[in-house]
Amino acid sequence: MIMTGNSEKHLILIIDDEEVLRDGCRQVLERCGYDVLTAGQGNEGIKLARERMPDMAFIDLKMPNMSGMEIIEILSRDIPDVVLVMITGFATIVSAVEAMQKGAYDYLPKPFNPDQLRALTKRALEHRNLKIETRRLREEKDQMERNFITFVSHEMRSPLVVIRQYIEALNAIAGDRFEQDVKEIIERCTKRVHNLEEMVEHWLDISRIENGTLTQQKVSLSLDSIISRSVEEMAPLCRKKGIALETNSPRSLPPITGDTESLVRVFTNIIGNATKYTPEGGKITVTVKNDDYYITASIADNGTGIPPEKLPLIFEPFYRCAEKNEKSSGSGLGLTFCKKIMESHNGVIDVSSREGEGTIFVLTFPISINTERNGSVEIQ
């Protein structure tokens, strides 16, 4: 006896109004070790299928009362993972294509011999097993990804939190007795731990965007407020580095739809990035413009610029422009985050740069099509 490699016996349903054909198929398939159900017409077949959940069904295309096409449509919708094969005496390409569009796996033209029936059954059931296995693996992978995010957020953050808390404790109980060099070591440790925390956070954010679990509250907002908040946040750093930070914005801007927090982080990320490659005395300029459909915000610096061969790579995770001997800080995920956030806003992030002259990041946002003022509207 031929088994299909599966320990359980496969159940096959045959729906055909010709008794001779039904019985012939039954005999062939039962001899192969399958369980077989038969039905002489559509309604009966569908009822049987719903009750017994077959793995596979052969359906005659041309039957009185209900056409094979209808049955295929119903079964592929109602019976999960069932493999449907159309039996037809008029095997036209058109009807075959239609059956497949409705969910059939293949068709068997009449007349056919037992070998053809056996071969097609075997192939169809293998297809079914593969389909089920693929889905199981995909589900497992998704689950693992979700678990991994949870794992990272708990298991990687807690030790970092504890290390920072220990450093706090160390400073609290003995900070006033430390020599300058000890203080410096502690300071550097703190900084590195902080960087690692940042990397974990960024990585988590990106994973969340990718699997759709990032919480974003999309409301109608003015890009102006986002930019002024971001500039305010970045001003101290720029002052410290001796870099001027300027904004040019039209008096009034049409609203866009977005999540305030993530957009502020896009701007602070890009401005922060610019400060790393802009020398003291340099300048970072945020310029906003709009037409009837789009608002563009460009963040330009007059820093070292990015070599053309590196430009296409800067949005890649963990890519760094800094050469080995340059001091680099940050997670290497900031621009990846910005790109993902822009995409989730139906926006675009672009970059152009000239070595020795500076870099311009351009963010393009679609303007909200807002019928009611102040309403929060999702862009379609």
Binding site: Q165, E168, N171
Partner: protein
């Protein structure tokens, strides 16, 4: 000599307990540690602390809340200042913790890690206004 004020710390991370204990002792408090919610509630009843700090995320996500409820339900727990500790980012990256409406009053929600000066400042404030 006045007795030291007593603070109860409930957190399932030993190292976090130890680090925070050092800070609190430096601040002149007598510190009691509980590594799980059940022990925490028992210690609350036996030592009668002047303030308790409870981690929100012990074992299961609800344990911190249930500890808080149990402590608030005791006689001494009604007026005593209670602080909650939260690791950043529970639901999403940007949302800090917001207590549900039926949540018993917490005097302060602190983010981990907490700066020594801030922690001692909040405690002084909470104990001072008592």
């Amino acid at each position: 000599m006045t007795a030291k004020k007593k603070i109860l710390l409930i957190d399932d991370d030993k190292d976090f307990l130890f680090a925070t204990k050092l800070i609190l002792e430096k601040g002149g408090y007598e510190v009691f540690l509980a590594e799980d919610g059940k022990t925490g509630v028992e210690m609350w009843k036996s030592i009668n602390p002047d303030l308790a700090i409870i981690d929100m995320m012990m074992e299961t996500w609800g344990e911190g809340f249930s500890v808080l409820n149990k402590i608030r339900a005791t006689d001494t727990g009604k007026e005593t200042p209670l602080f909650m500790l939260s690791a950043v980012d529970l639901q999403g990256p940007y949302q800090s913790f917001e207590p549900p409406p039926e949540f018993p009053t917490v005097n302060k929600v602190l983010q981990k890690p907490i700066k020594a000066d801030d922690l001692l400042g909040y405690i002084r404030q909470a104990l001072g206004v008592k």
